[in-house]
């Protein structure tokens, strides 16, 4: 019996020892995405650590407040991590999150609406700088528009990053293949989609696989970027009629797109839709072998070792890496416009589009409210995102272009500034376009089509079923009405 009692005691001891530590001080847990200060290693002796300084400054100015930075798990387990910590009410007070995830999850009241806060002055922004009197003024209207959730009428995300997407190209390799690469930073490498396909075809003729990219969620993937851009071009003549009243050119929100499907303004049975599938199908042979399960790192490796002349990448964060690693001349370009050369449906399209944009931002979670420290958490967020602080963060770690007024683009990212002057694509990646489930199933359907597991007819039929179903679900979930669109 003593043994058993001892066991019970040991058990209780281990379990009880760590439970219930009283805390008088406020502790704010925050994830900061790519700006999380890594520890130095042999291969990276001086990692950016500005976040540590900023935290220290804030703690010094606010006695009794502790800030704990939390490292977010990499992509593969990030979703699981997030839904479990929210479920267990153990989420950090501030989470860097993609706005589409926030939209998907906002019905759970996991995120605090920031509507009132962004209307108020931000005390950490110096007098005379945009945002000092009204926090929202520190960030361009277009950014707020993109991330605004129409369904609830709430703004949950403060987006301080802009990301651009483009093609990196290996100039040495292209010249060896006899392709002229005279390059002006303000233009795309190609006039139109056809030229791009033709030149990549020439590269393939010369014996290379042309484009390194990925179409797998094993890591962040790049296929999505063609998807939205080219679809935008195909429906260029109609998109205006999908807008909510009074809107000007903008990235369509879930409601507008779902209603367009519901009202029959876009359907997988359209000619334009078939043209779009054809366009992607013609492009697919240019993609590197194994793209369907390729990771970000594998695609990058192919480019940086000179095996493949083009890489579809994140022009913001990856430029740093390419600058560091490439031992050849390289350039960076954006997607060419899809014009009437490619499809009659794109006849009126003259523009290339910005791909990427304002995707990830800071959210304040329900935990701040539960613990009654909402004000303090928002104050810290105001502090971090104020220009004096954020400017230092992005200078130290130029992983993306700051959106705030009054901040310069870091030198390393200058080549991508031209990208940000392009108009936004009206139709976004498949996930934010309609729903996460749609994005996932659409990607898999396209893969089945590309690998010839299904034919065009089946693809169209499945797409039609998928779009109709998801539009219905999204509209029902949000209790939207679709009256605003004209048939």
């Amino acid at each position: 019996m003593y043994r058993r009692i001892m066991l019970v005691a040991l058990f209780l001891l281990v379990f009880g020892a760590f439970a219930g530590q009283a805390q008088d001080e406020i502790t704010i847990f925050a994830t900061v995405g790519a700006y999380y200060p890594d520890e130095p290693t042999e291969n990276n002796p001086n990692p950016p650590a500005m976040m540590n300084e900023i935290v220290a400054e804030y703690e010094a100015a606010n006695p009794g407040v502790n800030i704990e930075l939390v490292d977010t798990p990499a992509n593969i387990s990030g979703d699981q991590w997030r839904s479990t910590v929210f479920n267990g009410q153990n989420e950090p007070h501030i989470i860097v999150n993609n706005y589409i995830r926030v939209w998907q999850e906002q019905g759970n009241d996991w995120y605090v609406p920031l509507n009132d806060y962004i209307e108020a002055p931000n005390p950490h922004i110096p007098e005379g700088t945009p945002g000092a009197e009204r926090w929202a003024d520190s960030i361009p209207e277009v950014v707020w528009d993109t991330t605004f959730h129409t369904g609830s009428g709430n703004q949950y995300v403060v987006t301080v990053n802009a990301v651009a997407v483009g093609f990196y190209y290996n100039i040495d390799m292209l010249e060896a293949a006899g392709i002229d690469t005279e390059f002006d930073i303000s233009y795309s490498l190609w006039e139109d989609w056809e030229t791009m396909i033709a030149e990549m075809g020439a590269v393939a003729e010369a014996g290379y696989e042309p484009l390194a990219m990925s179409m797998s969620t094993a890591s962040p993937y790049t296929y999505n970027w063609f998807d939205g851009t080219s679809l935008t071009s195909m429906y260029i003549d109609h998109i205006e009629s999908w807008w909510e009243p009074g809107a000007s050119w903008h990235a369509l929100n879930q409601r507008e797109f779902a209603c367009a499907i519901q009202n029959g303004l876009i359907s997988a049975n359209d000619d334009a839709f078939a043209d779009w599938i054809q366009l992607l199908a013609d492009f697919e042979p240019m993609w590197v072998d194994g793209y369907a399960t390729m990771t970000w790192d594998e695609a990058y490796r192919l480019f940086i070792t000179g095996e493949v002349p083009f890489l579809l990448g994140n022009a913001a964060s990856q430029t740093l890496n390419v600058t560091r690693d490439a031992d050849f001349n390289w350039g960076i370009s954006y997607f060419p416009p899809v014009t009437e050369t490619t499809s009659a449906h794109a006849a009126n399209n003259e523009s290339a589009y910005l791909v990427g944009g304002f995707t990830a931002g800071f959210t304040v979670t329900d935990r701040a409210r539960r613990e009654g420290i909402e004000e303090q958490v928002v104050d810290f967020l105001m502090f971090v995102t104020a220009q004096p602080q954020w400017g230092r963060v992005v200078t130290d770690s130029p992983r993306s272009i700051p959106t705030q007024f009054g901040l310069d683009v870091p030198d390393a990212l200058k080549p991508t500034v031209a990208f940000l002057e392009l108009p936004i694509r009206a139709l976004k990646d498949p996930d934010p376009r309609l729903s996460r489930r749609y994005g996932e199933d659409h990607r898999r359907l396209m893969q089945e089509f590309f690998t010839e597991q299904i034919d065009l007819e089946t693809l169209i039929a499945e797409e039609d079923r998928l779009m109709t179903r998801e539009a219905r679900v999204v509209i029902a979930e949000n209790e939207w009405s679709c009256d605003f669109q004209m048939e």
Binding site: D79, N87, G107, M215, D289, G290, R444, Q447, T451, Q453
Partner: protein
């Protein structure tokens, strides 16, 4: 009291105690129940409670947050018409079948060879050598096998090029025709520690005399294998097969890391679909229903497997 209960072989005890009424037998065993209190409590709280709450949630639409309402058996109905689930089950059956065969046959032959080595020292060292890889984390193995299957510089394709079989160099993980094979061969020819040692243990306990008399009768290696070694280790082999089946059915990290179920749905399995339904689409109810079906299937297969094995033993 307890001592008397147990001094005799259990068969005799049960015969005697079964004559007394149930409450008395329970009272007699009170110390035993007390001893089981801790483990039973732990399992009830940390294992059964979550399992039952999953069963309960399978009848609800639940997004992991506020949205939570009863839908009855709707999720199970949906499964019947869910194309993804159908494909996933088909993939799983092939995968599990292959792995069960591979992870039984390989350990069996390795064990047979080790047991038959004349050098006791080598026999011991081989056991250690083959058990050693169990310290390697699973995730690390997956990373390495991604390298091996890499279409451009992977070891497999480089090897094929080296011996002039370039036409057989595939993007193994990205081709719907090869992906399940590629996944089934991950870690080949690694010997799963538990299964390997269990079978080895079975072979070791076959009495020497049996083999000696077989040798006198002129039985060669193969005859001995099929008429002595396999029948006499049947229970170990069955167990190894059941364990492999259970482990492989629940495996989702392999698919998540290597292919994410792609291309298309060609390497989707139910465990991965469960994971994605829950954590990507926030359909915890549907995910739970998939889990419940998996559990029932595994239970049924285990019972069938045991019955078949027991039947064969009686013959």
């Amino acid at each position: 009291m307890i001592r008397r209960l147990s001094t005799s072989p259990s068969a005799r005890v049960s015969k005697r105690t079964s004559q007394s009424p149930l409450p008395i037998r329970i009272w007699q065993a009170k110390w035993l129940y007390l001893a089981l209190l801790i483990p039973v409590a732990i399992l009830l709280i940390f294992e059964w409670l979550p399992a039952f709450s999953a069963l309960y949630n399978s009848l609800y639409i639940w997004n992991g947050g506020k949205v939570h309402f009863y839908v009855g058996l709707e999720h199970y109905e949906r499964m019947l018409s869910d194309r993804t689930f159908r494909v996933a089950i088909t993939n799983l059956i092939g995968f599990v079948f292959f792995r069960v065969v591979m992870q039984t046959v390989l350990p069996f032959f390795a064990a047979e060879m080790i047991v038959n080595l004349r050098s006791a020292r080598w026999s011991y060292w081989w056991k250690i050598i083959f058990v050693f890889p169990m310290v390697v984390p699973q995730i690390l193995n997956y990373l390495i096998w991604r390298f091996i299957y890499n279409p451009q510089v992977g070891l497999l394709n480089e090897g094929l090029k080296l011996i002039g079989l370039e036409q057989y160099a595939y993007a193994w993980l990205a081709d719907p025709h090869t992906v399940m094979w590629a996944l089934a061969f991950v870690r080949f020819p690694w010997l799963p520690t538990l299964q390997f040692l269990i079978i080895l243990g079975g072979l070791q306990t076959i009495p020497q005399e049996v083999h000696e008399s077989a040798a006198i009768d002129g039985a060669g290696f193969w005859r001995r294998l099929f008429y002595i070694d396999i029948p006499m280790t049947r229970r170990q082999i069955t167990l190894a097969m059941i364990l492999t089946m259970l482990f492989m059915t629940q495996r989702f990290d392999l698919f998540l890391v290597m292919t994410d179920g792609g291309p298309g749905y060609s390497s989707m399995v139910p465990a991965l679909q469960l994971y994605q339904s829950a954590f990507h689409f926030l359909e915890f109810g549907y995910a739970s229903a998939i889990g419940v079906v998996l559990f029932v299937a595994m239970l049924a297969l285990t019972i069938i497997n045991l019955r078949v094995s027991a039947g064969a033993n009686r013959e």
